[in-house]
């Protein structure tokens, strides 16, 4: 019998329903895996009791003849950007260290409602700002993957949902929540060889999720395969009156709708995504993906998204602008850290608290955001960026006249070693070049593993869909998954 921790969400769910094992056995298995993988630093807080309590509830329900909850018996990891009632929620920051919310985020609440239990709060880039998981106050998350070059450089798991990515790839949890603002689900998924989907903006409630950039932030699942993403997304999605940007729509039955037959679908290949200096391996994988989708019945067409190259600059104006505002509430007055130097007045207290409480990347983005919103520069930067955003959304809308889906690489490179890019923030921001445009347009987009590069590191393919058409995105993801046959996993060294 396979180890319980090697099972997928669907595998756990079905095995639990069939009576093959108890939910407690599953929870204990994963709790042990979490406890034994401290070297990855994927979790900020472990919550074995939460997982066990949910497992016991599932076992009791099953004994009473009820195992119907969609995630009964499934323990998961929770990105520490989701507020969890009674459990420390930090957004990987010093300023929120020790903050224990008296409330539960809508998304995490829905997952508990669906029967899931929590293994712990997953590490991330501080306030979800970063693409490598090197900005957490609680230390870097380490990818379970290593290059096959004989070296043992610690690799970046991607970011910001790097703890989620690392934990799933290392079999510390079968699935986890992520949030994606400019690629924070898809890029780390690609880096560690797992799947992740960012749904249409508004599908998942943002209530109770520590805000980074409100107009972009969107929760989504990360898991080992497409089916698990569908199961998780169904549990996480749904209208929430407490979030006025939440979409008042029924949640489709995505898992039931899964089909890798793409006959009648047209898949667009945006020519502007062939960026200069892109590694040949990425180029080759992309071509492979095209062939796979054609094999699945899709018609391939070339499309143009002419404003693609403006997406990254626009994103790095809009997201910091919103972040500078969203993070203003962390002032040391009502919760979290408070630094009060001797003789300090109120302004001094603010400054000391924020200086000590925010990491360098967060400060950099607050400074950028404050600058682009300041009276003299607002129109030069923020207004222009919003216009670009509109043009990018229009590009996609026009592309949908020619195709139903888009296929691109997820990231312009495989994972890099920790420390390799920290000195150059602009190089770091380039990681998001393929994920940001669809974020600006609010579109559903998914990364699935496509293969390994020469260094033995995973590479991801991205499928982007029309607004609300998660089903087609998942289906194309499934078609790629079936053909890629990606079974590689990181050798356990931790």
């Amino acid at each position: 019998m396979t180890k319980l921790t090697d099972l997928t969400v669907a595998g756990i769910r079905d095995g639990f329903r069939a009576g093959d094992f108890s939910a407690r056995e599953v929870a204990e298995g994963f709790n042990a895996a979490v406890a034994g993988a401290k070297a990855l630093n994927a979790f900020i807080v472990d919550t074995p009791d939460h997982a066990l309590a949910a497992a016991d509830a599932a076992d009791a329900a099953r004994a009473a003849g009820d195992a119907a909850k969609p995630l009964a018996g499934v323990p998961i990891g929770m990105k520490d950007l989701f507020c969890t009632k009674g459990v420390q929620t930090t957004a990987a920051s010093h300023i929120l260290e020790g903050f224990v919310p008296p409330y539960e985020s809508t998304v995490s609440g829905k997952l508990w409602e669906a029967g899931a239990g929590m293994l712990g709060k997953l590490n991330l880039d501080q306030f979800a700002m970063g693409s490598s998981n090197e900005t957490s106050y609680f230390g870097n998350v380490i990818s379970p993957w290593r290059r096959n070059d004989g070296g043992n450089a610690a690799m970046a798991p991607g970011g910001s949902s790097g703890g989620s990515a690392s934990a799933i790839a290392a079999r510390l949890c079968p699935a986890a929540t992520g949030t994606d603002t400019g690629g924070s689900i898809r890029q780390p998924a690609a880096f560690v060889g797992i799947s992740g989907i960012k749904p249409t903006y508004g599908r998942c409630s943002r209530w109770g999720v520590v805000a980074f950039a409100s107009s972009l932030d969107q929760a989504g699942p990360m898991a080992r395969d497409v089916r698990d993403c569908a199961i998780m997304l169904e549990a996480m999605s749904g209208f929430d009156a407490k979030d006025s940007t939440s979409l008042d729509l029924e949640v489709p039955h995505w898992e039931a709708g899964l089909s890798s037959d793409l006959k009648g679908k047209r898949v667009g290949i945006p020519k502007e995504y062939r960026v200069e200096g892109m590694p040949a391996e990425i180029e080759a994988l992309w071509q492979q993906g095209i062939d796979w989708l054609r094999d699945a019945g899709a018609e391939i067409v070339e499309v143009s998204l002419p404003h693609t190259r403006y997406a990254l600059p626009a994103y790095y104006i809009i997201a910091p602008a919103e972040a500078s505002s969203n993070l203003a509430r962390y002032d040391g007055v009502r919760y979290g850290q408070r630094e009060l130097p001797e003789g300090a007045n109120l302004q001094d207290m603010y400054a000391a608290t924020r200086s000590a409480g925010f990491g360098p990347e967060v400060k950099r983005r607050i400074m950028i955001g404050t600058y682009v919103l300041s009276a003299g520069y607002y129109h030069a930067y923020y207004t222009q960026a919003q216009k670009v955003r509109t043009l990018i959304a229009r590009d996609f809308a026009e592309a949908w006249d020619h195709c139903d889906l888009l296929l691109t690489p997820t990231a312009p490179s495989a994972a890099f070693a920790l420390g390799e890019k920290m000195a150059d923030p602009l190089a770091m921001y380039l990681n998001d070049v393929f994920t940001v445009p669809s974020s600006l347009a609010g579109l559903p987009a998914m990364s699935v593993p496509g293969g390994l590069d020469a260094g033995g590191l995973p590479l991801g393919l991205q499928v982007i869909g029309r607004p609300l058409d998660e089903q087609s995105v998942l289906n194309a993801g499934l078609a790629l998954e079936e053909r890629a046959g990606f079974t590689a996993r990181a050798e356990a060294w931790w």
């Binding site: 943002r206 999720v209 805000a211 207290m349």
Partner: protein, 492 residues
């Protein structure tokens, strides 16, 4: 009044005034959270997670607050913007838990409108002036944080945090303290008619930022100052007087007016600099990404319009034309919505016998007089409209005279009894019994032979003396008409 001038050494100066009135929206819940808005509650008892700006909390607009602002806009004939948007106004201010205020800078809910004021409020026949309203937008109020009460702690009261305010911005159309006072009073009257704000300045439901500049008549606008949070009509007028005088003095001494924010100190009757525009905040506005633009549909607008009451100006015109009231009485009765409500309830209780004019006169002279004396206002009048109507009916049908009516009213105020009961129990009914009256007249004539002679000799004015004597002898209960008639006959 429009020729209000400040005399300076270099000649006359004109004052230019614009007001930004913050009016708290009457609603049970805050603008973006479900928390209550009751005044005077214990600190932090009216706070939701949203108001406390807890991590991950999101605002959701309260429909009732939007409705009230739209109705207010309609009441001043303003353009209602079917598409409006909330912006964040970012600045570090100790009392903003989010670190920003949600307001509407670029696309307000309500556009241009007008408020008409009587140039002399005491004279209903005086000319009127239309004062432009630039816009009304909705925004959230701040909380209260005190950082100086404890060496290492901040005291936080977020009861007001997130309470909905309407910011009603006038054009710089006012030219005297009196005009500004009239504007604020009229605005408050309209808000109270509409029911969108209780207008209670003492409790902070309404406060004004007063923009003042001075210029030589006919010249360009001068540099203005803004005096914040002025909380009574009297203070608004005082601020303008002081600030205009101060500016004239500065200018005539060769100085320049600095654009700045000032505070009014009512104890010392002066304004003081709070912060100058140079170190003023860079507010860093941008559209609130947590909120979608506000889009109003026609049904909602129609419902808002249909729910509007008859407003003070049309009501006043109707009182004059339909009810035949004097301009003065119509103005007095429509100035405050409580008065109007009381008056209309009184009319509804009165039978057709009692004229609107009689009811209006009684309300304005007798009831208002009594309320003044008792230091109460009409909302807690000791006499209700039904009781007033009963009294008026007794006067109208001749059961009691006007004079007796006043007497009965006093007893009503003292005892709380109804007019009918009082008249019955105390035998205050007016009598037209000619025999009894004639008997008393005979006595009066017999007792005053010299006055009778004088009267008959041509001193007509003495007639009133005989009326008074007769009435006195009758204990005030004689029908004055009958007394008159019989006296004339008796005196020849």
């Amino acid at each position: 009044m429009s020729s209000y001038r400040i005399q300076g050494a270099t000649g006359d100066w004109e004052v230019v005034i614009g007001l930004e009135v913050h009016a708290q929206v009457t609603s049970n819940a805050k603008l973006f959270s479900g928390a209550s808005t009751a005044f005077g509650s214990e600190p932090n008892t009216q706070v939701s997670l949203v108001d406390a700006a807890m991590p991950g909390m999101l605002p959701t607009p309260n429909r009732e607050c939007i409705r009230q602002a739209v109705r207010t806009g309609m009441a001043i004939d303003a353009a209602i913007n079917k598409w409006s948007r909330f912006d964040r106004k970012n600045y570090f201010y100790a009392d903003l838990p989010q670190g920003y205020q949600i307001s509407q800078l670029y696309h307000p809910l309500v556009g241009e409108g007008t408020i008409t004021v009587q140039l002399d409020e005491k004279d209903p026949e005086s000319p009127v002036k239309a004062i432009g309203v630039e816009r009304i937008h909705v925004e959230q109020d701040a909380g209260k944080l005190m950082h100086d009460q404890h060496p290492t702690r901040s005291y936080v009261d977020l009861n007001r945090s997130g309470v909905a305010l309407m910011e009603i911005v006038s054009k710089p159309d006012m030219r005297s303290p009196a005009e500004a006072g009239a504007y604020v009073r009229k605005l408050r009257s309209i808000l109270r008619y509409v029911g969108s704000c209780d207008g209670n300045m003492e409790e902070g439901s309404m406060r004004a930022d007063v923009n003042v500049s001075v210029r030589k008549p006919g010249e360009e606008f001068g540099t203005r100052t803004e005096t914040k949070n002025v909380n009574s009509v009297r203070f608004v007028m005082a601020v303008i007087e002081h600030e205009a005088r101060r500016q004239v003095d500065v200018l005539e001494a060769g100085g320049k007016i600095v654009q700045e924010t000032r505070l009014y100190d009512p104890d010392r009757g002066e304004t003081r600099s709070m912060r100058s525009k140079e170190d003023a905040h860079d507010y860093r506005y941008f559209p609130d990404p947590d909120l979608l633009p506000l889009v109003l549909d026609d049904g909602f607008l129609a419902e808002c319009r249909a729910s509007l009451p008859e407003l003070p100006d049309p009501k006043r015109r109707r009182y004059e034309t339909e009810l035949g009231l004097s301009a003065y009485n119509a103005a007095v009765l429509t100035a405050e919505v409580e008065t109007t409500r009381w008056f209309e309830a009184l009319l509804a209780e009165c039978g057709s016998q009692v004229t609107a004019k009689a009811a209006a006169n009684w309300l304005i002279s007798d009831l208002f007089g009594a309320l003044n004396r008792l230091g109460r206002d009409i909302a807690d009048s000791p006499v209700n409209p039904a009781q007033g109507a009963e009294l008026l009916a007794l006067i109208a049908d001749g059961t009691i005279s006007n004079t007796l009516g006043k007497q009965v009213f006093e007893i009503m105020l003292e005892t709380g009894q109804g007019a009918g009961v009082i008249v019955e129990e105390r035998g205050l009914k007016q009598t037209s019994d000619t025999g009894a009256i004639e008997a008393e007249i005979a006595k009066v004539i017999a007792a005053n032979p010299d006055k009778v002679a004088d009267y008959r000799g041509g001193k007509d004015k003495l007639f009133g003396f005989f009326v008074g004597q007769t009435m006195k002898a009758m204990g005030g209960k004689a029908n004055p008409g009958v007394v008159n008639e019989l006296l004339k006959k008796a005196l020849g």
